[in-house]
């Protein structure tokens, strides 16, 4: 108990110190800048020069702590991981040796295959369900409650969600009382119960269901907001022309919000590429469910081979890269319109 008390005290002190440190830094440097380069008692030319210097320096004072953290914790490690991927377990340079190993390794190929499967299935279904729920909910009086409930899994950790779904998938031998919902339904139809988590290929799908369950809420919220931007006159015009609900949905709504659908799709794609917790908690890669992020964790913490671990991380990074470039270009384009 004393241990816990110490821990809490430590956290409180850390918050106070960090905030005090930041406040002192920002106020202090600002005060120093104004003080050292004060524009008082100087000629007009000198004032302009000093003002200029100050406005050159000030942004960097504002940026410094954030840039420091980003550099140490994200930029440097990215470079370092690239470098490490060319070294073996003992720190000997082996060129592309790790990459050659990776593509010959059955575990790695299994992971790539599964990751592609995840990429094909999860973003599609999460976006599709999100869109359907958004469209349905916006037309009903209890839509807000419905959306709130579908959105709820977004707040649940991947591990918590894994436990929730493992309970749904729970398996008892035939003849016993099934306490897992899925097997209860299956046996209710007179079919034999299945150990879903060990069923080859399908088990990956059952793990994907967890992520779809979580991400649908995200897709729904974003798409729902986009749908509200579709002009009512357009929909009205289509209705007058006699278009039915399905035509309006496919021919008018979807083209109008296509840009948002792409954003949602790519955002979920990135989540999928990094998915780790679900596989780690549910199967730890057994029964052919391995994915890259979990494989990397194994090479890092089970085999302590930082070279191969880094190589797998780089491959995850490379698969994210196209989306990253696209995001940056989009942000730049927007910068131009501002």
């Amino acid at each position: 108990m004393g241990d816990i008390f110490q821990q809490i005290t430590g956290a409180v002190i850390a918050i106070i110190l960090a905030l005090a440190g930041l406040v002192i830094y920002f106020w202090g440097t600002n005060w120093l800048l104004d003080r050292l380069l004060s524009s008082g008692s100087s000629s007009g030319n000198e004032i302009t020069r000093r003002d200029n210097i100050r406005s050159q320096i000030r942004p960097w004072l504002f940026l410094f702590p954030a840039l420091l953290f980003l550099t140490v914790y994200l930029v440097y490690p990215v470079v370092e991981t690239f470098r490490l991927s060319f070294f073996d377990k003992n720190g000997v340079f082996i060129g592309f040796g790790n990459y050659v190993w990776a593509f010959g390794d059955s575990g790695f190929r299994q992971s790539i295959f599964n990751n592609i499967l995840w990429l094909l299935i999860v973003p599609f279904f999460a976006t599709a369900f999100g869109l359907v729920i958004a469209v349905l909910a916006d037309r009903l009086w209890w839509g807000t409650i419905a959306k709130s409930l579908v959105f709820m899994p977004m707040a649940i950790s991947f591990v918590g969600a894994s436990v929730i779904w493992r309970f749904v998938y729970d398996y008892r031998a035939a003849g016993e009382n099934q306490i897992g919902l899925l097997n209860a339904i299956v046996t209710g139809f007179g079919l034999p119960p299945q150990a879903w988590i060990t069923l080859p290929l399908w088990n990956s799908v059952f793990l994907m269901v967890i992520l779809i369950w979580i991400q649908t809420g995200f897709a729904m919220v974003i798409l729902s907001a986009a749908l509200r931007g579709v002009p009512e006159e357009t929909l009205e015009a289509a209705r007058i022309d006699g278009a039915n609900g399905f035509r309006i949905f496919f021919d008018i709504m979807i083209p109008q919000i296509w840009g948002t659908i792409v954003v949602v799709w790519t955002t979920i794609t990135i989540v999928v590429l990094k998915v780790f917790d679900i596989i780690f908690a549910m199967t730890n890669g057994q029964w052919d469910t391995e994915v890259l992020a979990n494989l990397m964790f194994k090479w890092m913490f089970v085999n302590f081979d930082y070279g191969r671990g880094s190589t797998i991380a780089v491959i995850i990074m490379l698969s994210v890269l196209p989306i990253m470039v696209w995001n940056i270009r989009r942000a730049n384009a927007e910068e131009g319109t501002r």
Binding site: I8, P59, A146, I156, I179, V221, A281, A331
Partner: protein, 399 residues
């Protein structure tokens, strides 16, 4: 003229309007049903977990949570004491006891002496035993084994029985996970990690966001591009170099390893910064230009404008980010495992839950209650602050 007759005889509105009405109603009903089905699919798994966590653990193991309100029936077996347990009363020899031990809420409906015939005799009845005498079992589980001759068996015979467990809801599972399984400790650890990691990045990000939104300086565009790029960099890229760095620092300082709370606070701070800067910059950049300019003309410095105007005005964006960061840090498993380790006393709730899945994978009373303890805090945050969460989500993606 025939056409005119038809036109007057069958007025179109009458024939088509009920048809149209019924079609609209059908569509409406279909919408209601479709959404209802989807909402049920989305909520039932969580509901099942919550209901199960509140059930009696014996019931939980033998019946589905959807039967939580009905009495469940299970077959059990219990071994009777050896001859040493006998007492002599009025010239007869007796062995007494209760088949349930101390549990009181169950009842027995029938019992038997072999696994194939667990319901051979209804309660209150008697059965002859192989070791001599007869046994009588009551519905409470009390049994009495009576014999005229002295018991001499050295191995207690088994009694099979059918037990009815009436529906029962309890907080016992929660008490058990919080006291006996180290979940409470993990709960404290999760807070220890999350609160500082949520608060520390805010001020840092706000200053940087203001600079990127309202100040002019070289490389601004490049820095914005880097921040947008870092938004999607997989954390996996950071783990190995940072772990090595932490271990080296610990080595220099003479500590045993680099797994400290300070280390994880700083790591989470940095990992949250790209989103924080991005969200806050977008928000600040959308603030009306005129206010800034008039303040500048009045002689206010950037520092005064930022602390006096922009920071208070940015409250909604700050709130959005804080919720994101809180949920993300609380729900994180990977960063905690790498930078805090798998040592029992340092496990956060997600790590604890994974370890329970491994060690108590079939004890659903532990897992369901443990899982609910893990998700209850984010759910409270989520439902009470959903507005800010949604706003942040929209600002972060639809741009």
């Amino acid at each position: 003229m025939a056409t005119a007759d038809i036109a007057t005889d069958i007025p179109r509105p009458v024939s088509s309007s009920p048809n149209l009405l019924s079609r609209i109603d059908a569509g409406r009903i279909f919408t209601h049903i479709a959404l209802l089905v989807l909402v049920i699919i989305w909520t039932v798994p969580t509901a099942g977990l919550l209901i199960s966590s509140l059930r009696d653990k014996d019931q939980l193991a033998v019946s589905g949570w959807w039967t939580a309100l009905t009495t469940s029936r299970s077959q059990n077996v219990e071994r009777l004491p050896t001859a040493e347990g006998q007492v002599e009363e009025n010239g007869k020899f007796v062995i007494r006891g209760n088949l349930f031990g101390d549990a009181t809420h169950k009842t027995i409906s029938a019992f038997g002496l072999t696994a194939d015939t667990p319901a051979a005799t209804p309660v209150g009845g008697s059965m002859p035993m192989n070791d001599g005498g007869t046994i009588t079992v009551q519905s409470t589980g009390d049994y009495e084994w009576l014999s005229d001759t002295k018991f001499e068996h050295t191995r207690g015979p088994r009694v099979f029985f059918v037990a009815d467990i009436p529906p029962r809801f309890t907080l016992e599972n929660y008490v058990e996970v919080l006291t006996a399984n180290g979940v409470f400790r993990s709960f404290v650890n999760s807070f220890t990690v999350t609160i500082p990691a949520t608060i520390i990045p805010i001020l840092m990000a706000a200053f940087a966001a203001y600079a990127l939104a309202w100040m002019r300086f070289p490389f601004r565009g490049l820095i914005v591009a880097v921040v947008v790029g870092l938004l999607v960099v997989p954390l996996q890229m950071s783990l190995i170099p940072l772990l090595s760095m932490y271990n080296n620092i610990a080595h220099v300082l003479g500590a045993e390893d680099g797994k400290t709370y300070l280390g994880i606070w700083l790591a989470h701070t940095a990992f949250g910064l790209p989103l924080a800067i991005y969200l806050l910059r977008n928000y600040m950049a959308a603030l009306p230009k005129e206010i800034m300019e008039s303040a500048r003309i009045d002689g206010a410095s950037h520092f005064q404008i930022f602390t006096g105007m922009v920071l208070p005005l940015s409250f909604p964006a700050l709130a959005s980010f804080s919720i994101f960061q809180f949920l993300w840090v609380w729900n994180d498993l990977l960063v905690a495992m790498v930078f805090l380790g798998a040592q029992e006393s340092k496990l956060v709730l997600t790590g604890k839950l994974v370890s329970l899945l491994g060690s108590r994978g079939n004890n659903w009373e532990i897992l369901t209650a443990g899982a609910f303890v893990t998700i209850v805090v984010p759910l409270i945050v989520f439902f009470s602050l959903q507005r800010y969460f949604v706003r942040g989500l929209l600002a972060g993606s639809v741009k």
